[in-house]
């Protein structure tokens, strides 16, 4: 059986679900951030797959932009985490309950 569109899409879906599970279950801000990266990568895989199987290079350009935006997002997010750690000495979501009623 030859590898088709659906094989790659199943891998992408499973990777996305792993990332989502990490975001929900893990309580460490940095690990949550890494799970977000997993979800972005799953979306990238789906885009590249569709680009390959519809014979259209636009999807790959889009992935290029996604990678760039993800790099910017990671730098800002990590700077926020460091600033937060300086103030509160924690990177754990359960300790950050200032906005809780």
């Amino acid at each position: 059986m030859t590898i088709g569109l659906e094989h790659y899409l199943v891998v992408s879906v499973l990777l996305f679900c792993l990332g989502l599970l990490g975001v929900i279950v893990r309580r460490n801000l940095l690990v949550i951030y890494m799970s977000l990266e997993l979800m972005l990568n799953a979306a990238n895989l789906a885009l590249v797959t569709f680009s390959r199987f519809t014979n259209n290079l636009d999807g790959q350009v889009f992935v290029f932009f996604v990678i760039t935006v993800a790099a910017a997002e990671v730098s800002v997010g990590l700077a926020l985490i460091v600033a937060l750690y300086r103030k509160r000495q924690t990177a754990h979501v359960e300790d950050l309950t200032t906005l809780k009623l």
Binding site: M1, I3, G4, L5, V10, V11, V13, L14, F16, C17, L18, G19, L20, L21, G22, I24, V25, R26, R27, N28, L30, Y33, M34, S35, E37, L38, N41, N44, L45, V48, S51, R52, F53, T54, N55, N56, L57, Q60, V61, V63, F64, F65, I67, T68, V69, A70, A71, A72, V74, S75, V76, L78, A79, I81, V82, A83, Y85, K87, A91, H92
Partner: protein, 166 residues
């Protein structure tokens, strides 16, 4: 050969991805980061199988190189010894599993019921030449906007990293 490579890389991607979020031996964020690097490298292998050569290179250079070094740097900067002693709540795990399982079921059932016509691999090459041509003709405006975005992110990071944050 290609099929075997697909299965190998897909298996490695999923196993390493699982080890990022739930490593049975260590809860240390550094281990997670290392497994994330491996996940990204195996994903680059899948990109090569899809003939997206430029993106595979960018994936390794930007993600596994730059972004993960940033991650590791921040992990080392923060002292996260206390994290390993924390317990994971069973309620959170159960709720997470149920909700993610529901979303997975929706995804897979929609995938099963969609007629996927394009199963033949056409001759499409995602090399540097083809992507570069597209990037600097049709996608020139988004490209320039992304450069502004990177500048904004850089300024923001410098501002956020100041000693006394107002």
């Amino acid at each position: 050969m290609q099929d075997a490579l697909f299965y190998i890389f897909a298996f490695l991607t999923l196993v390493f991805g699982f080890l990022v979020i739930a490593n049975p031996f260590s809860r240390n964020p550094v281990t997670s980061a290392m497994f994330l690097v491996l996940t990204i490298v195996s994903l680059a292998g899948l990109f090569v199988l899809l003939h997206a050569f430029f993106l595979a290179a960018v994936q390794v250079l930007v993600y596994a190189g730059a972004v993960m070094v940033l991650f590791l740097f921040v992990i080392m900067l923060l002292d996260l010894k206390a994290e390993e002693r924390r317990k994971i709540k069973a309620l959170g795990v159960g709720g997470g599993l149920v909700s993610v399982g529901a979303i997975l079921a929706i995804f897979l059932s929609s995938l099963l019921h969609t007629p996927l016509g394009a199963t033949e691999s056409p001759a499409l090459e995602g090399g540097t030449v083809q992507l570069g041509k597209l990037l600097f003709t049709e996608y020139l405006l988004p490209f320039e906007i992304v450069s502004v975005l990177l500048l904004v992110a850089m300024v923001g990071v410098v501002l956020l990293s100041k000693k006394e944050l107002k």
